[in-house]
Symmetry: C2
Subunit: 339 residues, 2 copies
DNA sequence: CTGAAAGCGCTAACAT
DNA sequence: ATGTTAGCGCTTTCAG
């Protein structure tokens, strides 16, 4: 049923040369007479030849593609992933880097156990040369499965345990310190935090860093309510904080979306931001700029980090980087109106 | 550098049978002695064998994967795609269907001309068996390029011209009529619309349908301001409408995100929704339920439509469906608080 | 029910 | 600088 297109053989015959020569031209190998190159090129356009990737991969053991895998369990996973600007930034960052190098990025979504198995199988079968993995849970088995399957892997965020995989990460604790310092400098002392599920390592570092910084300033017992990285959960968390700790004057949220939800809630309740309560988010995503008032936040250079992941992987595939290479980024405080 | 794993040959030797037999077992062909099957299975686990997809594809001309392509030009395309709940719903719908059939979904993003070329090349080289395409612009060359490259293709939305591709679509005009009828029934007569770029066919049908329905009720000259499908553009459009047509009592937006932006703006300006101005959106995305007040909207069953696309493609790959098959869905009005 | 053998289309030594 | 040749790992007739 699939009509087979022209092969190297056909082009070779058309151009009156051997398969090998055509292959050389196609792959841009030097040492081919310019006139013959030209003839081959014409034969290629005349026949409408396209290399067969399967045949090529079979011998080169390469595909020229790299997978970008988003992993986490849950209902309507894609709908949630696509609702969070964070992932879009990762995609933009990785794509920008890969396109330039003519590496084809393919996005894979591992939203369930079945999906995880399928994704691992797909990659272990050689559908891509390596994987960039963004996993949301510390206990996600996917990174380990990929590494065990021999797939060159680079992670967003330090893996919870030792793993033969490279990674790119932000100094989350330092970012949290920036947020803490800012709130303190603004004279806020009755602080609270909106956290994330315990399984999210980055968010955990943020909260720990925040509390550590406050502890150094003599402030302890900072309340935490956990959200799920969504604006809706930020609202709920804020509602609860307000109920249980009426005297608050400052809130630090583990990401912008939750900070946004918190701001919305406060505004609806007639609580002034930053007048009554100052709010600081984390990420500097679109949500931060679209928030009214503009959200003060800790910038995480997601696009650059994703590009760094891609670079790490590409270098490693070329043999130019170690298996466990890593790159750390520094956060920057972006002050807007919310605090 | 890539360590090559065990091959069929290795498993065959281990099990004391021929390659052909192992292949039969792996591919679930009947007519294999149960005892031999068992022996082969053990040999497979013992050796840790995984089939090499390239070798397999080379002979079968199949990959077992299907591409889901998002296409449209623009800066930070992925960031925008990921900001719109619509795409997440498409992904969830398609993935749900494909997973069950053990077809691997791979997401491809065509955000620039270069990307388009790369994507077409990738698919024409046989990296996937077919493509599900969600394209935002009527003048997007990608669908045509894919069809010309011989890639079995199914589109979201009717293609602007004749194309040997299947598609799934919503009766957008009917949806717009529902919105119009609802606003009229609510006694609204001074209506306006927030549209989308002229290049978006679906949005165009919505506006045309809306105006046609109003014309039947004797209302003409309905103002249009065009947005870009984003909440921010919805705000701007609403601001302009309010400025230029102060007496409005109802607005129909071509998607929920823009309706959401409009509601936010109205609220900030102290205009009551639906008291002063009734608002109707389109899609019934998450944005609709998260909007305050809840957004009245025309439901588009995106997940089902995406699943239908996947079914169309899979059937066609099996030879069980025609090249140009199509499926049409009916919209449903979902009344919430905004009108 | 199983095995032998012929490729699928391509790259990469190796010759020339 | 070009051609010849030997596979890459798998499926699939075709015999048996």
């Amino acid at each position: 049923m699939t009509k087979r297109g022209p092969t190297l053989e056909d082009v070779a015959r058309e151009a009156g040369v051997s398969r090998a020569t055509v292959s050389r031209v196609v792959n841009g190998v030097r040492n081919v007479d310019p006139r013959i190159q030209e003839a081959v090129r014409r034969a290629i356009t005349r026949t409408g030849y396209t290399p067969n990737q399967a045949a090529r991969s079979l011998v080169t053991r390469r595909t020229g593609a790299v997978a970008l895998v988003f992993s986490a369990a849950g209902e309507a996973f894609a709908a949630r992933v696509f609702a969070d600007p964070f992932f879009g930034r990762v995609v933009d960052g990785a794509l920008g880097f890969l396109r330039e190098r003519a590496v084809q990025p393919v996005l894979l979504v591992a939203e369930s156990e079945q999906a995880r198995t399928q994704v691992v199988q797909y990659l272990r079968q050689g559908a891509a040369d390596g994987a960039l993995v963004v996993s949301l849970d510390a206990d996600d088995p996917l990174p380990g499965m990929l590494v065990a399957a021999g797939v060159p892997t680079v992670l967003f965020g330090r893996p919870p345990g030792p793993l033969r995989a490279g990674y790119v990460d932000l100094d989350n604790a330092a970012g949290a310190r920036l947020a803490a310092g800012h709130l303190l400098a603004r004279g806020r002392r009755r602080l609270a935090t909106i956290g994330a599920p315990r399984s999210a390592p980055a968010a955990r570092e943020r909260l720990d860093g925040f509390r550590a910084a406050l502890a150094e300033a003599g402030i302890t017992g900072v309340p935490v309510v956990r959200g799920r990285f969504t604006a809706a959960s930020g609202r709920e968390a804020m509602a609860r904080l307000l109920r249980e700790h009426p005297g608050l004057d400052g809130v630090f949220a583990a990401n912008d979306l939750m900070a946004l939800g918190a701001c919305q809630y406060l505004r609806e309740r007639g609580v002034a931001v930053p007048g009554d309560i100052a709010v600081v988010g984390f990420d500097d995503s679109r949500a931060a700029t679209e928030c009214r008032p503009g959200l003060t936040t800790v910038r995480q250079p997601v696009e650059e980090m994703a590009a760094a992941m891609a670079r790490l992987l590409v270098d490693r595939l070329r043999g130019a980087a170690e298996e466990g290479s890593r790159v750390l980024f520094d956060p920057v405080l972006v002050v807007r109106e919310s605090s």
